[in-house]
């Protein structure tokens, strides 16, 4: 009985540790509400660490073009993300048109994009740390110089 208890404790402990590790880079949140032609709700919440992990396993030849494109801008992207991490919460860009509203902001440790028009509402929140890791994985996929 004690043995089963220890095994169960081990399994639960490992699961909790694994979950903690998986969520260590925060969570990506995607919310889509489609109003036309039919009403659909989509809500996805996933560990942000999956993005760089997925990038790691993606075929290199498929990423090399994107990696080459992004390479000249890497120092700029790194500096921007580093500063975004440190800065206070801020609305970076907001565009309003009749029937449309787009907002890109920094909230907590995440970049949040909200788009609202007559047909859809989209909300995407991505941790800055996950964006950094994904960009680094993408850069690593390029040809080394």
């Amino acid at each position: 009985m004690v043995l089963f208890g220890k095994i169960a404790l081990g399994i639960v402990g490992t699961a909790v540790a694994g979950l903690g590790l998986l969520c260590s880079e925060g969570l990506i949140e995607v919310k889509v509400v489609e109003r036309a032609p039919e009403v659909h709700h989509l809500y996805v919440i996933a560990p942000a660490m999956l993005a760089p992990i997925g990038m790691h396993f993606a075929p290199r030849r498929d990423l090399s073009h994107a990696a080459a494109e992004i390479k000249p801008w890497l120092p700029t992207i790194r500096a921007a993300l580093e500063q975004l991490r440190d800065t206070d919460d801020v609305t970076l860009v907001e565009v309003r048109e009749p029937g449309e509203h787009v907002r890109v902001s920094k909230e907590g440790g995440s970049i949040v994009v909200d788009v609202e028009d007559q047909d859809d509402t989209v909300h995407v929140s991505t941790p800055i740390r996950a964006i950094s890791s994904t960009i680094e994985q993408l850069a690593a996929a390029g040809p080394s110089t």
Binding site: P72, T76, V90
Partner: protein
């Protein structure tokens, strides 16, 4: 009695330190460059808010076209043979004065240096009464010229100087329906 007073004094000093230390150690307030474009006739508006510290860190990483390491290279050919650096330096060293005043039938132009600012006003009746007002703190002009090279302006230093200057409305352009503004303050969102 003296010992008690000493002890009380020490407690007061410590309490004062505890109360004032966080304020003294507080990080300087973030400052933002705001750009706002509004078109009342179309009901459209665009707001861009950039933390100045971010702009200051990003600029030196951009090396494209005329921008290198936070400096912008200006060729005489780009400015119709006007030496923009010499022009800014002349304005910088001149006392407060009206440099240019043009009053036309449709257009008024005024360029002046006033209260530590370079001020440009343009009124253009031909363009639907368009009004342009530009106010640049001279500290920013000084910073622009702080680079040693003759054909460069130091944009990074100018942004730093802009951060050190107080809240300022830098550019406004208004006509019948459109309203364009650039300003600096310490609010993360406009208004």
């Amino acid at each position: 009695m003296r010992k008690r007073l000493c002890g009380l004094g020490m407690i007061c000093v410590l309490a004062g330190l505890v109360v004032t230390a966080p304020a003294a150690m507080a990080t300087p307030t973030e400052r933002y460059l705001h750009v706002k474009v509004e078109d009342a006739s179309k009901g459209e508006s665009v707001n861009v808010n950039v933390p100045l510290s971010m702009a200051e860190k990003i600029l030196p990483t951009i090396n494209k076209n005329n921008i290198h390491n936070g400096h912008v290279t200006i060729g005489h050919a780009d400015m119709n043979d006007v030496d923009i650096r010499a022009l800014l330096d002349a304005v910088r060293t001149a006392p407060d004065n009206e440099f240019v005043t043009v009053k036309g039938k449709d257009q008024d132009v005024r360029v002046a240096k006033s209260n530590g600012n370079l001020v440009v006003h343009v009124r253009d009746a031909a363009k639907g009464g368009q009004k342009v007002d530009i106010t640049i703190p001279m500290k920013v002009v000084d910073a622009l010229l702080s680079t040693a090279k003759d054909n460069e302006l130091d944009i990074s230093a100018a942004i730093r100087a802009l951060g050190d200057a107080g809240d300022a409305l830098l550019v406004t352009v208004e006509d019948a329906s459109e309203h364009f503004r650039i300003w600096v303050d310490s609010k993360g969102s406009p208004e």
